[in-house]
Amino acid sequence: MEVGQSLAWGEGPGYHERPVMITKQLESLETVVIRFAGDSGDGMQITGTQFTNTSAVLGNDLATFPDFPAEIRAPAGTLPGVSGFQVHFSSTDIYTPGDDPDVLVAMNPAALKVNLKDLPRNGILILDTDAFDKRNLKKAGYESNPLEDGSLEGFRLFAIPLTSRTERALEDRDDLSKKEKTRCKNFYALGMTYWLFNRPLENTVTFLEKKFKKKPQFASANITAMRAGYAYCDASQEFQVRYEVAPAATEPGTYRNIMGNDALALGLVAASVRAGVPIFYGSYPITPASSVLHALAKYKNFGVATFQAEDEIAAVTSAIGASFGGKVGITGSSGPGIALKGEALGLATMVELPLVVINVQRAGPSTGMPTKTEQADLLQAMFGRNGEAPCPVLAPCSPGDCFEMAFEAFRIATKYMVPVFLLSDGYLANGAEPWKLPESMDELPACAVSYRTDPEDYLPYMRDETTLARPWVRPGTPGMQHRIGGIEKAEGTGNVSYDAENHQRMTDIRAEKVARIVAEVPDLEVFGPESGDLLVLGWGSTYGAIHAAMKIAHKDGKSVAQAHLRHLNPFPKNLGDVMKRYKKVICAEMNMGQLRMMLRDRFLVDVIGLNKVQGMPFRIREILTAIDEHTS
């Protein structure tokens, strides 16, 4: 690929200069970022998703970033009511939704106000002039009309009366109210972008027909609007240039565009099927974790039991109860809800039952910013319980990886009889990427669960020699009645014990059990030179930004490599060695240095923090700046 071929990275000397928009007729682009922004009521999420899916089917590589308000329906036309959806599509591999948009579609003044600062000069700007009336301008806090005051100069502006054009396109439709007509304007806009980037309409047509099966008049209205938008561009003088983004040279296979939470839910079900043990998901709704519950609630034909508990404590304890019963108990929440589970997670540690704990992290502390992403719950996962209660901690690094890591969490939990933390975040949860689907069960790792049924020589806290796991015995098994609980247990028998040495031994065993998982943790791989000036470490959703930056840095000839942790406890066994091979190590995280703390403690290496808590993923250029600073 040539960076210079993209809109975003076009022509300019490097990442830190704003790229210049190509104005001349140009047919082929490598990569484009488009952002749809409008009022929450304007349907921007659906518009963005449609653009994404159409591009996916075309074979582009993709990454998306939805950004919506905390309010359900913030007052129309206001700044907090703005909802956005950014799609990055490309003919080469991409790893983030893009730092900044090349194209901004803004459906009202508020959307313009919130998003314009991200649009580079020369970027394409599509506006609905109908929305720029006095009232809306005031709501958005504009003193003067940007359409008139010259402040939009320098952008490639397409100021179009989208609303009235949509209405006009539907003027002969007596079966629709005026409001119903104007509500189709997002599909008018979508049609325009389809023309602009030369996408077919079929995909969305099918979608609309399916979605409005019961109300076909809405399907056809939206389709008409979309076609009208497409046709308008085709006909209009204003639009002289049309762009092509060729399919990416992707690995052959079947793909699906998937959001992190959906992949996560599928991963759990897949592991459950593979292991032959149904799952029980105890959860309490919370943004951005709720959609895992919503997804799993639909899989009843897989025997998935979902339980909307009265609170997070009941969610986790009900899951522990299910695990006691021989199902795999899973619980999921976000930061504040996870905080409530701490006591029960201590219990799970003590009774040594399998449990998967999902934290779809959001910006904290406290309620924080529920719709914004962050990675600041790592140390909570490690230490948010009383006493010495170590747990394995895993983190997926992309929406699709949520499938794999959820599977892995299930596998470790059942194999080692231990509660396992899975740290996703809001960015992975709602972000989407094309995901290559497994074609057969053999592509999934083995995951065998066996219950002990032989009472001979059985002790509740006897241990597997390799894993140190205690046997899992389902109530109902004759002759193996036993009792567990949160008081320290005597080695072997599991009886209550206040014995001094026993407590030390059991504490050591619980730690050792987690430590032994290292045998299964794949060695950390580096992307880039095997040794050199700088290693950039990360975990979780920062993968894409770091990876994209890495590719640019490598082109710039930097001696820098990337290593990304998906296992945070225990660490891969070669981690220390890897770190030693570089003169400097940066740890990039969306927190104030949590993994960094763990690394410094463990390896006594002066790891440098690249930290950000702004409710948003890293931008590629932020990583690049840091690389620049620390390499020669």
Binding site: V57, G59, P247, E251, P252, T254, Y255, R256, N257, L266, V269, A270, V273, R274, P278, F280, G282, Y299, K300, N301, F302, G303, A305, F307, A309, E310, D311, I313, A314, T317, S318, A319, I320, G321, A322, F324, G325, G326, K327, G329, A344, V351, L437, P438, E439, S440, M441, R474, P475, G476, T477, P478, G479, Q481, R483, I484, G485, G486, I487, V496
Partner: protein
Amino acid sequence: MTTQPPQLKKKDFESDQQVRWCPGCGDYAILSSVQKTFAELGLRNEEVAVISGIGCAARFPYYVNSYGFHTIHGRAPALATGLKIARPDLSVWVVGGDGDMLSIGGNHLLHALRRNIDINIMCFDNRIYGLTKGQASPTSEFGKRTATTPMGSLDRPVNPISVALAAEGTFVARTADVFAPHLQAMLTAAAAHKGVAFIQILQNCIIFNDRAFAHVTDREAKNERVLYLEHGAPMIFGKEKDKGIRLVGNKPEVVRLGEDGITEKDILVHDETDESLAYMLSRLDPKDFPTPLGIFRRAGAPSLHEGYQAQFEQAKSKDGEGVILDLIHSGDVWDVK
């Protein structure tokens, strides 16, 4: 419940763990009644799961030869709910004290009741925190002096029966530690009930709140000041069966049979299905009324785990048994060649 193997005896339900309550604690009597009832119900050791919170009462599972889980303070009903959904075949019994279930665990109790999950909840009510050495509990009397309330408690007590009824409990009963046959009858009825069963068991804490229920369990009280509720029977009480409860308007009063021409026909008849009646009975003030023991309410309602089973089956019959590869490959997929 299979009947082929020989029926078990009480002692088969005794575990090998030494019982560690204070000598004279009411918990001993309850343990013994429960073990006896399990045997008489024909339960097998392995099909019973006893789940408890934390407190003196909550040590219970250690002493029963069955599957057991001594969980954390207040959360037993929630944990048991997960267990029962996962394992409808088990006979699940929940044990906890008044503090465990009505203070920290009040909400889980409420929700277990409204969900009508088929578990049997025994609340050992001694009106005190035993294990932590004598603090006020949610059922402690107003004005009671305890370690935390040296000048008297300012909290008004909750009434566990009223709360259980209002939480939509489908089986709500009261009994006492020392009334073994009555206690066993309640346990047996609870086991037979499809859906959640809540039993308040008045229990004496000899160390921190001795004789809290003397007004019920003393020999004289037991004969004269206890109203044994029976469905369809008039509310007559007293050793001589000479007293009864009558309704005037919607208000209850104690009357003497034979006096003022009052006969059995004037006496209120207990109806386990009448929730407002049950509530009224739960409010009877022991100063003026006998204390009702027995089943306040028993009513049918869909039970939670049955709902789960039905939805599983419905989903399977509608969408077919789940095939994971199909699920993964559903939605907007495309092929790259």
